[in-house]
């Protein structure tokens, strides 16, 4: 079980790294936000499930309760993070930030 938890956490860290790469390298606000939002929700859920599994290495009722609380954080992130990304994108669109097109300068 510890091995599975380690693999999940490592996969989460990998997706976090991809997200950081996207934030640093993509050309404009929308695509950067795309990289941040997508990889962030996947990676943080992987890490959280990994931590919840690792917490079960000595199995008892109290530890199961703690793991359930950790999983509730994952549910919260799945609702809140895409909503925040949506609100940011929508505000940027209303404020008139133009998307990048091929051949234009990076911003």
């Amino acid at each position: 079980m510890t091995l599975v938890a380690m693999l999940l956490i490592l996969a989460g860290l990998f997706f976090f790294a991809i997200g950081v790469l996207g934030i640093l390298r993509f050309p404009d606000f929308y695509s950067r936000l795309h990289a941040a939002g997508k990889s962030d929700s996947l990676a943080s859920v992987l890490v959280i499930v990994g931590v919840a599994l690792y917490n079960l290495h000595d199995f008892s009722f109290a530890n199961v309760l703690v793991s359930l609380k950790i999983l509730l954080i994952a549910v919260f992130i799945y609702v809140a993070s895409p909503t925040a990304t949506h609100a940011l994108t929508r505000t940027a669109l209303v404020l008139g930030i133009e998307p990048w097109e091929k051949g234009k300068k990076r911003r």
Partner: protein, 160 residues
């Protein structure tokens, strides 16, 4: 691009979007429940009055951001808000002053043993809980009213 922008603008007001509103409606009860949990478990886990109060206040800030000021003021009027804030400060200073009246120092809860005999150790634990409730109420009210006043420049009409 321009077309898309106009469509968004004519559709609704700037801050309003169905997705945000639904998510906020889904999250607010749980955020408030978690705020109460943090206040009540303040003595033996991370958290306490201030943090729980901030969570409770931030639920109203979330409502104010997703909907508008009028909706929030219908749910929690300014008068009720100020009442809660003052009640919190009254609980805090009241518990402290009661301790001083019954022969201890200010906020020395073991002195309240004269009032209800629980034993001084139990009273120290319970007294912290009472004070945390007061702090939580005051912080909730101040957080919400700070956002309302700053977001509408003191007019309390539109909001962001």
């Amino acid at each position: 691009m321009r077309q898309l922008q106009q469509r968004v603008e004519t559709q609704q007001q700037v801050g309003e979007s169905l997705i945000t509103q639904t998510a906020v409606r889904l999250l607010v009860p749980f955020v408030q429940l978690f705020g109460l949990y943090v206040i009540v478990h303040g003595h033996y886990s991370p958290g306490g009055g201030f943090q729980g109060g901030v969570l409770l206040g931030s639920s109203f800030i979330m409502l104010g951001l997703a909907y508008d000021q009028k909706t929030v003021l219908r749910l929690m009027s300014e008068r009720t808000n100020i009442l809660f804030g003052n009640l919190g400060a009254l609980i805090f200073t009241g518990v402290g002053a009661l301790c001083a009246i019954f022969g201890g120092l200010f906020l020395d809860y073991s002195a309240l043993d004269v009032l209800i005999p629980l034993g001084p150790i139990e009273w120290r634990s319970f007294g912290i809980f009472l004070v945390e409730v007061g702090v939580g109420l005051a912080v909730m009210s101040i957080m919400a009213s700070l956002f309302w006043d700053l977001g509408s420049a003191g007019q309390m009409d539109e909001g962001l």
